[in-house]
Subunit: 362 residues, 4 copies
């Protein structure tokens, strides 16, 4: 498997740089017969897109997906599905001054140390622009999972800097540009972000995603565990520094009596495990949380060095999000869907398609 | 890649059940010429082994490694290295009463739902017994990394329930059975564990591992990022529910000015990133932290159901650790070493063996 | 690895249908710093293209490669290289009458049985159109192999129906449209093909490819042997039914004294092995031969059934080659180069970049 | 995937050297619930074993398989199945004189050039001893394929030097030690082999294997084609220099009218394709043929060089087969079964388990 590919059986290979001619992906292994049209991608791409609120980057991404292969008369054929988006708003001049400089907190220095060469246009390959194609591939996975198994994947911003939700209402999430699960707090978030922008600084965030309807039995022990694959998927998203399944780091101070999810005839009494035991889904909702760091693309000057080995002061102009976590919710959802899709196919390869055995805990 | 294999180029395939005849692994892709003897494995296996203090499981594991292949006259030949440990202390009768029952918080139910069959002897494949072979394979990786690149991997218990270290002294870690970085607290930990055992309950823990000497440039964007692979590796360890790189979840409330590691001519001023930017090592220490849940194998009865679909009360007898995190340090270290080893080989495949380019940040 | 990807470390993923909007590929794992421009692809694509002589399909393929990613200022950056060719001459109407029919000797029936759906436009994914992207990816591999190791890959048509070369002059190959190694026979081949076309029938062919300059040591035992990977690569080409390395099937009647290549201080005395022993290159030229079946797209009617389960008579109109082997030489060369490139990277991953040890047989 | 592993979803990883302490394999991905006992392996291992006739090596291999994992109460559990055979008859002294020498036609020189080190004991890893574990893994695949799909895999020696079968009677194959499909020729073969042994020389052979009952639809275009995977599998067997599917190299001189398998309502009229079109099974028998070279381990002296770079004369003493193809039939069968097993799982991953659609050609 190449390192720009994700998934063992439902394999997504992405390509493209932030300010190159195009970005795209190849989705290989999709079951045949799934109805897919260019319109299917619109909603999720817009949810992820920049430029929708004044709190995210003002770069316009009018992303139009072209389906290049793998779909015939509106249905997948089983052959690889190639998706392409032309980059239209590539203001490379914004980045001209960083060509010679290693921005602190960015991948500039590490790409250059690895490859001895780098594409400075908008961060090149290391830009979050790449995640557009994850969302696109995720659309296919979500559709198949929903149609075939009734799986529903949703996410929300579960923390913005110091602000945590006062209530979790998943229906509220799509009603505000913060993917926030409590509409009552939206004004507070607006004020928080306005103050942040004025300071020229950025802040971190937490995103949580939930998959309901996942049947028990998905996930492959030992090194292909459902939670292991989720961790890899989430940590591969730009700016992510931590991944939790279920109660996550809170388990450190928990007691066994507190953490274990007891089982009654009418089901589990709790879901501290986040729907996964031994790397395999339990049938409860799969719950994963992710920590996004504050972006290093800020207006406050920072110390660095340049290619000539001289000290420099770096200010990142251009169009950047003061909180990259805000529009990351669709990306986290997409990665959750991609992992589940892959595991669904892996499960039926080894164990067939019969589904769970009895007794099955409701 | 099969799901019982880990690593793309330095590939470790493990096999064996907790109370089957043997456990083992096949290490494929090891560079030739590395000196390896059975004695090399002893120290790390003992560090991981149970039965060493009264705070870990009293099962005796006198693990003797047999090298079945891949080593000739004391040196690796480039062919697969098979390692075998016979299981000697398999008191299966301890587990007789759980054959028909799904223990809460265990993989019993999920394995059974996945496969329609399960090996109940000591948890079978889902037992932490499997991690013995990770530690063994890790020995080979650590030795090669040290000899070839001067990489040093160390770990410690960074939290035990509510108790956090008051100081971090890596030299203290091997001086006490808790892998604790502050010797002054050992008596406190002893008392904490004694009280816990009396209660019949268990508690979670945090383990941190650090790799020093990692050259810049290791890690493969996008889906083979160093941190992504670390996350997968760590989450695949039994009982792990969360993974952090660098500052981890603390980034949520950080500001960009606070998080970004500024660069001066004499080096980075901080290491909030945990030694990884854009999925590639920076040359700073690679730092990863892991949350272990409190084991569900406790003496306090819990509600569950059995194979007949009847409600039952479960008490887990047998020999179990009240805090599985205590002896997990060598496992976390091993997984860190395995990921680095694999990335080292992947890096030199694509980019050659020349190492970092100038200017290199010290 | 997905099934539309080839290569473990130098990974080529192709997509696209014969008469869909475009074909393309993603080349992942290419070392950074290699100079690549759109012009580099022209020569090999033209060598492969149809419509160049009256003996190959008259479909015009004015294939213009667009480099979508992975190249910055004319050099590879180490990120995935996406190549795209728009399909321009898609006369789908030619294929209208085969939508309902399973053409004998084609993949119509098997695709339909596998997927329950098929893209009939020009054979869809099963068309040899896909091999265009193999040739394109092969250009990159050939360039790197030549610059880095001095490897030179060449091929020729080594049999056309009953006609075998009377001499092997590799310099003659590019002088005639048959890739024939003996210019003196070209008129004979022209007459042979004219007679064949008049008959409405087709014929098979043999293609041989040779790689000179391959250092000893490439190839991974046991299941990644150089010859094993070559066999997979060649058999994956459309219409190939057999693969030989070195003396191939002639070894059946050979004696050991005859087959083994003896070694003297000035080198091997022969190359019956085709440059590979134990799956690893010897340093001699790597020689592989491939058998192409006569295409089933012929004007002579054949019996088949249709989707309704009724007997039908099939005549394949459209633009088809009476001997598909003729223009397969660049494809065979490309696959040989792709396998070598992948093995070169695999070798330096495990064994470093130091090259062969002494004594080295010249 | 590591290079000592075979198969994407039914993954067999082998380890061990010819004269090391043991050989073994790990079979990962086997569906749960399959009945497997040590006795199941006996027949096929004996068929492959040396020492059964005076025409094969006189090394005794009393191979007793130990099942180390993955089977509980006689049934596979879905976890990795480890199989182990201790090497008992390791007369390393026979090989003492070749430590310093590169035997012509062997892998001595290439292993040494690749790894800078080699295990000379009986050829180490490059010995055909490794194929024992392929046969063992093949037993599991054959059993599952037979029970689940009714697939039957058989093979025979289809040429021995210049001698070809005068009739093909698959029921005769197990009646003679040559796996010969015509009992009437057995005396002739005995005389042929006696003369060969007297000459101190060796000869090549052809083996053919057939799988009946394979449903249409197995095989993954483009780079995971059924025939592509077969070619890789077969070419990875020691001493194989050529692979054919269906008519193989005979297609070169065939006409399209002759080669294409026409279709009538009662089925295909022929099977020139060998049961595969476009890389996917047609439902006809899958037919593959393999060319084995004459072993280079012969008593006739040959020229070579040694580690010191001096010319030497090599005579291979020890216990060797004058025709290694004779006992290769079970190995070829096993590889065919392993490929089919893997493709069966891959097919049901992507396309489900519903089987072929209508109309299906009988």
């Amino acid at each position: 498997m190449s390192s720009n590919s994700f998934g063992k059986l439902f394999t997504v290979t992405t390509f493209g740089e932030s300010h190159g001619p195009a970005i795209g992906c190849v989705v290989d292994g999709c079951p045949p017969g799934l109805a897919i049209a260019p319109e299917d991608f619109r909603a999720d791409l817009e949810r992820r897109a920049t430029g929708r609120t004044r709190h995210t980057s003002q770069r316009r991404e009018d992303d139009v997906i072209e389906i290049l292969s793998g779909v015939y008369e509106g249905r997948t054929t089983g052959t690889p599905i190639a998706l392409l988006i032309r980059n239209t708003d590539q203001r490379s001049k914004d980045y001209g001054d960083i060509v010679e400089t290693f921005r602190p907190g960015h991948a500039d220095y590490t790409y250059w140390q690895k490859y001895g060469i780098r594409d400075p246009r908008g961060g090149g390959r290391s830009s979050a622009r790449e995640t557009t194609m994850r969302v696109a591939a995720g659309v296919i996975a979500r559709k198949w999972l929903a149609e075939r198994y009734g799986v529903r994947v949703r996410g929300y911003l579960s923390q913005l800097g110091e602000v945590a939700p006062t209530a979790i209402d998943l229906d509220a999430v799509e009603q505000n540009p913060f993917f926030w699960p409590d509409t009552a707090q939206v004004a507070e978030l607006e004020a928080y972000m306005d103050a942040l922008r004025k300071s020229g600084d950025s802040v971190g965030a937490r995103v949580t995603a939930i998959a309901e309807g996942v049947p028990p039995g998905w996930g492959e022990p030992i090194y292909g565990k459902l939670d292991g694959e989720l961790a890899a998927a989430m940590m591969s998203i730009n700016a992510v520094k931590g991944v939790e399944v279920g109660d996550g780091f809170a388990v450190i101070t928990q007691r066994g009596t507190q953490h274990r999810d007891e089982i009654h005839l009418d089901g589990f009494t709790s879901n501290h495990a986040g729907g996964i035991l031994g790397g395999i889904s339990t049938g409860q909702p799969v719950v994963v949380s992710v920590a996004f760091k504050p972006t290093s693309s800020i207006l406050v000057p920072g110390a660095s060095v340049n290619l000539a080995g001289e000290p420099v002061e770096v200010v990142t102009k251009g169009r950047h999000d003061p909180c990259v976590g805000i529009r990351a919710t669709p990306i986290v959802e997409a990665m959750l869907a991609l992992v589940l899709m892959d595991q669904a196919l892996r499960h039926r390869a080894q164990c067939g398609d019969v589904g769970a055995v009895s007794p099955r805990i409701p």
